[in-house]
Symmetry: C2
């Protein structure tokens, strides 16, 4: 017999619509048209204006012939047009390609070609970079330049369409396009792979809708929350927060540059309730001069990822009025899909234990269906003992569609019905996962695996160490040995001998770094330490070519 | 050219899973196993136990041969088994059929037959009712009786499987069934139609997942919120809150009976943050003796539906520490799909204006894609003038699959690609809808349409009126005339003459009720006024048979 519950009960336009976060903005603009959607310097823009401008953008793009399956690139800072792109570009059916503004011209050129970009919306500040990229790229996209009044750099000489003018040509009542299917692409973000060409991660409307709501639930965002943009929006679509805020009719506070003073001012003056960023953002805030720091008189939610927040930083943040939550995810999972979901009882533990618990990446977001640590060879879950290493794998609706025009990489990533993150970790008895290392960061010394994170954690506990990164250095006898790159805390001193003695006290002897290098550690625009640069440096150091470090040392 | 974003980027087990709220419980139990999921009298049950028992229920049902496409009925009060049914029944692939415990045996029999019920899980209190229904019904479902320690009524003589015993036979580690498709049915709820046979509204996993999250976002439920069950769970699956609470790892506080004392005690002793109910629940709380009312020292969120909350009640609730939000929806929309989304600025208006604004049903929930007031003949939206009447219509993912085994009613309900609610209303210039009447409640007098709600609102403003319901009474000359049924406020007096004079002052003369009847107004178990009984009564009154009222008058 047929299942009677599947008989004469089909989908129809009344009971089925593709899930898309674009609807969040339509709702916000219709219900709270006058609520402030965007703050940018002196600018205050309402939801009605935000929606109208996004539709103008969609309309103007459609007039240029842009539609379904086309790529529109954005090379923008955290400014209002970047938010408008998150709605206006998919509203004409196109796919948003956000470009990391710190990338080399050659990588940008690769992305533009690979994504077959038709249009680039570019901030005046990055026009020279784009021009350089376009001399390399094969595509010839239409350029639209945003001249941000908050940018005080020199003008560019390039004659091109102005963003505001371009919008003026669009219809604010444009009948924007719903996706034909919720599986349709909404954005593409290229991962900064350490080897091989960058891969274009394709996200769809369904996943963006679900993760955007997952953010609100996970971060406890109530109606009219105020979000400060310390996280770059070009970083996996700002973890989907450009869409989350419309769902809860919140306010975006834009920020061109991550500097302590505007951050503290926004926190105090705009009533910011939530912000995200790598630990470096917290360091920046906490190390700001006392007259820059402002009194908040309330608890602000800070969400961090990329690296476990060090104990001292957590304590300082707590004292300054922040509740810090540790998130984890990848571009392939729409940003954060894992949360260190805190237990109230843990707050009564000693600070060091709290920091240890907080350093764990945690458990799945609500819209992620499965998260586990598997042996990639057998595809079996490792024991939940907090010790056995395996590969962190994801499964669910907030995992990417796949890599653009790269079926080989897509198939590899989805081998065995799970998304392989490439991150190595353990799973604790309580089900919380903890990264132990990226596969490529494991140091193999005398046949023993050394977790670079473990060595880093030992060094972080030394009072003089502000930032540390440990990588493999080739070694004649052992194959590899750990090499530690260290940034000292302000006003502190320590030499290699002192740190080596410290490590001997806290680590098995084979894990003690063979070399300590004191320098400013190179980071990506999102605050991630660029270990591949350090690995190069370590290689050259071991070969007796310490010059390799010179360009990095000078970057502070 | 093919859309490159739809090439080699297909669904697979790693990136696509059916949406289902069942996963919320799995997550809650795995991340917060020891957190209290359910409070019922002295009982405290953790999420680990809640999940294990739900799996035992699924397993035990599967052992009885219950699976996909089968119906399992529940005739239960707001008790832990009712929560377990919301997970355990769909976890074996079956569909949950919750029965309103206040229904007549004949209607229950109709539902059991129509749903082809295989199992009924029944509270001891309702066993006699079920036995009566089964003498009428054609189906012979397996009976499982829950003997609630909180129920102090007489034992039943029926020999049948005990719920706890039944669970013992189930496997707490049962590999429960995910839906094969998120469009699969999760529940069926029969509407208490005023004419014709009840219709079985079929809900699916996708809609339940989305509305459950929509509830959390709409009601501002943060992690570990505490929810008091003043709303019957048999009423559209408790508006999906049985699933919402698992999403935010909250606590259910069960309640067998809606009485003032246990409500106030739960509010104060269990730290309740949210509760729902018809205005009658608020009246009950506010009119409780002072020594029953407890001091809360915080704001509790109260969500009401069914009827606009009267001004005085709103003021009293505010003074008692409640923030009241008006919701609206139907069984066909999973419960509430419309919210009177409050603007901060409105809180500065005079109380009467606030009450007027709060009486509007409002705007769409986030997971509802479209809500409008349309002319059902032309299917065109009525002007947004707050005056032109039309039919309230819904469109989106939280609209039912359709009516079970009733393609005719399904097709009618979805005519023109919208779900026709049968409710008449207007849409205000700001997009907020307001119900003016159910189609069937319009009174047509001398060719003029009279909104019974308008007459009721006028009477509600009279200080002596506690509850009023206006229906059509047949009239020789005018066809119909309004007939008002009135419950006076305690200690107040007013007669028909006084109320008629009041109406003449506040209403057009043709809208003044031809008759006033002072009596206890019959309500459904969910607090909805049973207008169909009143219509019968009015009909018999006009025919000179006032005896029809006798049984109702005696029910208080």
């Amino acid at each position: 017999m047929n299942n009677p519950y599947n008989t004469d009960l089909d989908r129809n336009p009344a009971n089925y619509q593709p899930l898309t976060p674009l609807n969040f903005l339509e709702r916000a603009a219709s219900v709270f048209p006058d609520h402030t959607a965007i703050v940018h310097g002196e600018l205050r823009r309402s939801y009605a204006a935000f929606y109208a401008r996004s539709r103008q953008l969609a309309s103007a793009l459609a007039q240029k012939g842009i539609g379904r399956g086309d790529t529109v690139s954005a090379l923008l800072a955290n400014t209002p047009p970047m938010l408008e792109c998150h709605y206006g570009v998919p509203m004409c059916g196109a796919v948003l390609h956000s470009i990391n503004t710190r990338l080399d011209a050659s990588i940008i050129a690769f992305q533009l070609d690979h994504a077959m970009s038709k249009v680039v919306i570019v901030d005046r500040e990055f026009m020279p970079l784009l021009q350089e990229a376009l001399t390399i790229a094969k595509v010839s996209p239409v350029l639209i330049q945003y001249d941000d009044p908050e940018f005080d750099g020199p003008p560019t000489s390039v004659q091109t369409t102005d963003y505001e003018e371009f919008l003026t040509g669009g219809d604010p009542d444009f009948a924007w396009l719903m996706p034909e299917d919720e599986w349709d692409a909404i954005s593409i973000n290229y991962t900064s792979g350490t080897t091989g060409d960058p891969k274009g991660v394709v996200s769809h409307h369904r996943g963006a809708y679900l993760l955007a709501q997952g953010n609100a639930l996970t971060t406890g965002m109530l109606k009219h929350a105020v979000y400060l943009w310390t996280l770059p929006m070009f970083h996996c679509n700002g973890w989907c927060f450009p869409w989350t805020l419309s769902a809860i009719i919140g306010t975006h506070v834009c920020l061109r540059q991550v500097r302590a003073e505007p951050i503290w001012n926004a926190l105090a003056d705009e009533g910011v309730t939530h912000l995200c960023g790598a630990p470096i953002v917290m360091s920046l805030m906490i190390s700001a001069p006392k007259d820059v720091q402002r009194d908040l008189n309330r608890t602000v939610q800070f969400f961090t990822a990329a690296a476990p927040p060090p104990e001292k930083l957590l304590a300082d943040m707590r004292d300054a009025g922040f509740d810090v939550t540790h998130l984890y995810g990848l571009t392939e999972t729409y940003g954060p899909a894992v949360v260190n979901d805190w237990h109230d009882a843990w707050s009564c533990l000693p600070r060091a234990e709290q920091a240890a618990l907080k350093s764990r990446q945690g458990v799945r977001y609500l819209p992620l269906e499965q998260l586990d640590v598997l042996d990639p060879d057998t595809m079996r879950a490792v024991p939940r003992d907090g010790k056995t290493m395996g590969e962190v794998m994801f499964r669910g609706n907030v995992v990417m569609k796949g890599y653009f025009r790269n079926p080989k990489a897509t198939n590899e990533a989805f081998k065995g019905g799970w998304f392989h993150s490439g991150d190595l970790g353990v799973i604790h008895p309580d089900g919380y996962i903890q990264l132990k290392d990226r596969s490529k960061d494991v140091i193999i010394s005398g046949g023993e695996n050394i977790s670079s994170i473990e060595v880093e954690e030992a060094l972080y506990r030394h009072p003089a160490v502000a930032v540390v990164a440990v990588v493999a250095m080739p070694h004649e006898k052992w194959g590899e040995t750990p090499c530690a790159f260290v940034e000292l805390a302000e006003g502190q001193t320590a030499d290699a001998q002192a740190l080596r003695a410290w490590c001997r006290e806290h680590l098995a002897s084979y894990k003690v770094p063979g070399q300590f290098v004191f320098m400013t550690i190179p980071r990506t625009s999102t605050g991630k330490i660029q270990k591949f640069l350090l690995r190069d440096a370590a290689r050259e150091l071991s070969a007796g070519q310490p010059d390799a470090l010179a360009p990095t040392i000078g970057t502070k």
